[in-house]
């Protein structure tokens, strides 16, 4: 194998599994350490800069960082990264004086953002301090997009949305709420220099089976119904409710129904329980509220009597696998199941829809109805029009919307300065030794044996009584500290300098995880099998260094390294050093510009 080039920013970035997995590449371990030190405001600001909505995301993020977390590979469960983020938000105090303060000198360029969801708000936050005049349009009466309209208040209190949306609007962003944009042409005609489309994926899929029209009064599209609940138009539902669908929307629908009078609420899915799209923790929370999840049932028709819904008929199916391992659902032949109910919530998916974009506005769409975009630039075929969030590649989640927003803001800034949009700025990185003394490091290198801490919940009888009561109470400072200690500080990198190594084997002997091997170099496949412990996780790199006196190579498998620093402590010559790798994504502004 070729010797590793550790100056490539991706190399050490990949070692920080959580940061690499985070769409916005938030410097996770850095803020976790700050939380451990009680520096909540500092931890909050790192998040705010990177992901814009720490308080919101600390409660609702899809947390792609957690399945990636190294702790999950060396122990049992990942660090509760998301809930630690909430701790920073809950305890930060007043941070108003740390935020950029307007009014900012204007640069004369105007940018329109269609939709006031997280994608648009990120664009507005990144561009306003640079002097752009940003106008955000939304058909809804309040800003926040689906954060406001869809996510139920028992998961995300309104006050948190108000606060974090407020930080952005207060920069001097003009919002035109309650004004649905019905024509892209007319927006362009208003003289905007660029338009960012962040209108989300606003259409809920319907279920067209017999009885749908007749029983329409009691059959609701999940996301429309949740929006009506959020904006106070709906306050009640029938006693017996069936929720169709197995994603997170279905989980929010059933739990909301439980709080609006639904006593007998069931979730019914076509596929198996294991294959449901909903996150495991969402399923757990729903079941904990007395909501059964029934699987392998395909809805066939709605039953009704005198114009009122009476129930749903399901065909029983079972999974069948062909020789290629592909699964299909085949009827078992058992009699159909009739589930009696008063209301049905249909939560079987979301679609993109751009009825307001004229087909001759220069924006091309592909055959799935999604805009044709530059992969990293988010620029459409009309160079003035950019997309991001759910509107770009279909429904995803908040953190992806934020990540898209940052990239689109860079594109808009470069575009309006006449620079090449395709040239993307590299991230900013530093690598700093943590050595303080012979056995002292600037980070806490001891490894905690604590298991993942559980977030306390409100008692179910209290939580179910009022839709505004937040279920999760968040970690208190003691739990937060214990959880923060579980973080392995994966950003504190093991850096090896071959010319200092005397090949005494001290690092090999001390390493608790058998990461380090000195051996003859070879092809990667062969090397991976020849190490102290086989390196079977191909997603994790091997660190290869050459230039040792015996002609062997140093091979370190990054996979399960605890970043405990013992290799560096036992190294007599300082050939190993622990260095903190800090990576910040470049955002719109000076750093992203060529001139």
């Amino acid at each position: 194998m070729k010797a590793t080039d550790v100056s490539d920013p991706d190399y050490f970035h990949k070692v920080v599994d959580c940061q690499w997995a985070c769409p916005a590449h938030t410097p996770v371990p850095e803020y976790i350490r700050l939380i451990a030190h009680g520096r909540h405001a500092d931890a909050y600001m790192i998040n705010w800069k990177s992901n814009v909505f720490p308080g919101i995301l600390g409660r609702t993020c899809d947390r792609p960082c957690e399945p990636a977390c190294r702790r999950g590979r060396v122990e049992k469960d990942p660090v509760a990264i998301c809930r630690l983020k909430r701790v920073a938000a809950d305890n930060k105090g007043d941070i108003a004086d740390r935020l950029p303060k307007g009014p900012f000198p204007r640069n004369g360029k105007r940018v329109a953002c269609i939709g006031a969801g997280p994608a648009s708000l990120t664009v507005a936050r990144d561009l306003t301090p640079l002097g752009y005049e940003v106008v955000v349009f939304d058909g809804d009466a309040r800003a926040g997009g689906m954060i406001r309209s869809q996510i139920p208040k028992f998961r995300l209190p309104e006050s948190v949305i108000d606060e974090e949306v407020g930080y952005i609007v207060d920069l001097g962003v003009e919002t035109r709420l309650g004004s649905y944009v019905s024509s892209l042409r007319s927006v362009l005609a208003e003289g905007f220099d660029a338009v960012f489309v962040g209108c989300g994926a606003p259409r809920g899929r319907d279920l067209d089976v017999p009885g749908r029209k007749e029983a329409a009064a009691n059959i609701h599209i999940g996301i429309d119904w949740l929006a009506s609940v959020s904006f106070g138009h709906v306050e009640k539902i029938g006693r017996r409710v069936v929720v169709l669908g197995g994603g997170n929307t279905a989980m929010d629908c059933c739990r909301t129904a439980r709080r609006l009078g639904g006593e007998d609420v069931k979730v019914i899915v076509r596929s198996g329980f294991e294959e449901m799209k909903a996150s495991p923790w969402e399923k757990e929370d729903a079941m904990a509220e007395g909501i059964p999840i029934m699987n392998f049932l395909v809805p066939k028709s709605f039953t009704h009597e005198g114009g009122r819904l009476t129930g749903v008929v399901f065909e029983k199916v079972a999974p069948k696998f062909d020789d290629k391992g592909r699964r299909s659902l085949v009827p078992t032949g058992e009699p159909d199941l009739h589930v009696a109910c008063d209301d049905v919530l249909v939560a079987i998916g979301q679609e993109n829809a751009f009825p307001w974009i004229e087909r001759d506005a220069g924006v091309e769409f592909d055959r799935w109805g999604l805009p044709v975009l530059g992969e990293k630039t988010f620029q459409s075929t009309n160079p003035k029009v950019f997309f991001g969030g759910d509107a770009a590649f279909g429904p995803k989640n908040i953190i992806w919307a934020v990540a898209h927003g940052h990239e689109a803001a860079i594109s808009i800034d470069r575009f309006l300065r006449g620079e090449d949009v395709a040239a993307r700025p590299p991230p900013m990185t530093t690598l700093v030794s943590q050595k303080m003394g012979i056995h002292e490091w600037a980070y806490d290198n001891d490894i905690s044996n604590e298991l993942r801490q559980k977030v306390p919940h409100a008692a179910p009888d209290i939580a179910l009584r009022d839709i505004k009561v937040e279920v999760e109470l968040g970690f208190d400072q003691k739990l937060a500290w214990a959880e923060a200690q579980r973080c392995l500080n994966c950003d504190v990198q093991t850096v090896f300098t071959p010319k200092l190594c005397i090949e005494c084997d001290a690092c090999v002997d001390i390493c608790p995880m058998d990461c380090i091997t000195f051996t003859e170099n070879g092809e990667e496949e062969d090397l991976r099998r020849r190490l102290m412990a086989p390196a079977l996780n191909l997603a994790q790199d091997l660190y290869v260094a050459e230039g040792l006196k015996t002609g062997r190579a140093m091979i370190k498998d990054e996979d399960v390294c605890l970043h405990c620093g013992l290799c560096a402590e036992r190294c007599p010559t300082g050939a190993w050093d622990m260095r903190k790798f800090y990576l910040e994504m470049t955002q719109a502004g000076q750093g992203c510009r060529t001139r």
Partner: protein, 351 residues
Amino acid sequence: MTYITKPKLHHPSLPTNRLGYTRRDYEGSVSTLCAGCGHDSISAAIIQACFELSLPPHRIAKLSGIGCSSKTPTYFLGNSHGFNSVHGRMPSVLTGANLANRDLIYMGVSGDGDSASIGLGQFAHSIRRGVNMVYIVMNNGVYGLTKGQFSATADKGSKSKRGAVNSDEPIDLVGMALQLGATFVARSFSGDKQQLVPLIKAAILHKGAAFIDCISPCVAFNNHAGSTKSFDYVREHNEALNRLDVIPERQTIEVDYEPGSIEEVVQHDGSVLRLNKLAPEYDPHDRIAALTHLQERHAEGEVVTGLLYLDPTPRDLHDHLATVEKPLNVLDEAELCPGQEALQRFNAQHR
């Protein structure tokens, strides 16, 4: 030393042995030796050997004297018996323990100062008596613990860190062990675990006095240019005679070797030592030739390593003395006090 204890977490695919233990279960507390000390590597090799042999930790006794080397038993086999004797007295304590309980595996750990200076006599007598033990000397050519004075194994002409040249003749412990009748004699290097681990395993399986001289650089006081016990010097002058495989039971050889390059030696317990001879003309069963070869190569400045001598049918101290089969602590009253009649018969033998 480090301020943190070694984390309990281990590699998810860490193998277990026949007893269900991982290698980590054979560790001791975290080392307090200088970072990079060769002795730590030997500790790691002992841990690996005991793990691979699936030895029950409570059936091992580790004994040592005084010195950095003699401190190492704290850093391996944390669940075994241990005895830290006064300087140079490990061999007599070990001999006594072995006489009292022949069922344990005895691991004598010593340094070149501990064994070649103050304990030279002790070393010699334990070897010539054929005590069933593994006697490892972690040989760095200096008194590490007392800050690097030349020890009796320092080569003539070797330079100290301050530049002083050693003018005394060295004691060659391997040569002495051969002369004194050790039935297993080896030399190795802390920087070569592939060679060292099988040697320790073979020595443990050997039922007799097994002696291993292990060159182990002292990074603090004897790892500079001009020293003959430094990593660089030993790597440059290492002349390995053979490589060893320890095979629990006889198996057919799958790999093709040059004819005459492989020798298999069956041990008393049925295990097989497979010697891959790197120097085909060297015969590890000829004590006198071994002595000659060692001296010739030493005169050339070379460090000969590998299995130097093996007697596959050793006799040990208990065989010589015809002692009772059982450990003394399991003998019952009837066996210990056989009565007046037995005493008289015994006395009569001595009239």
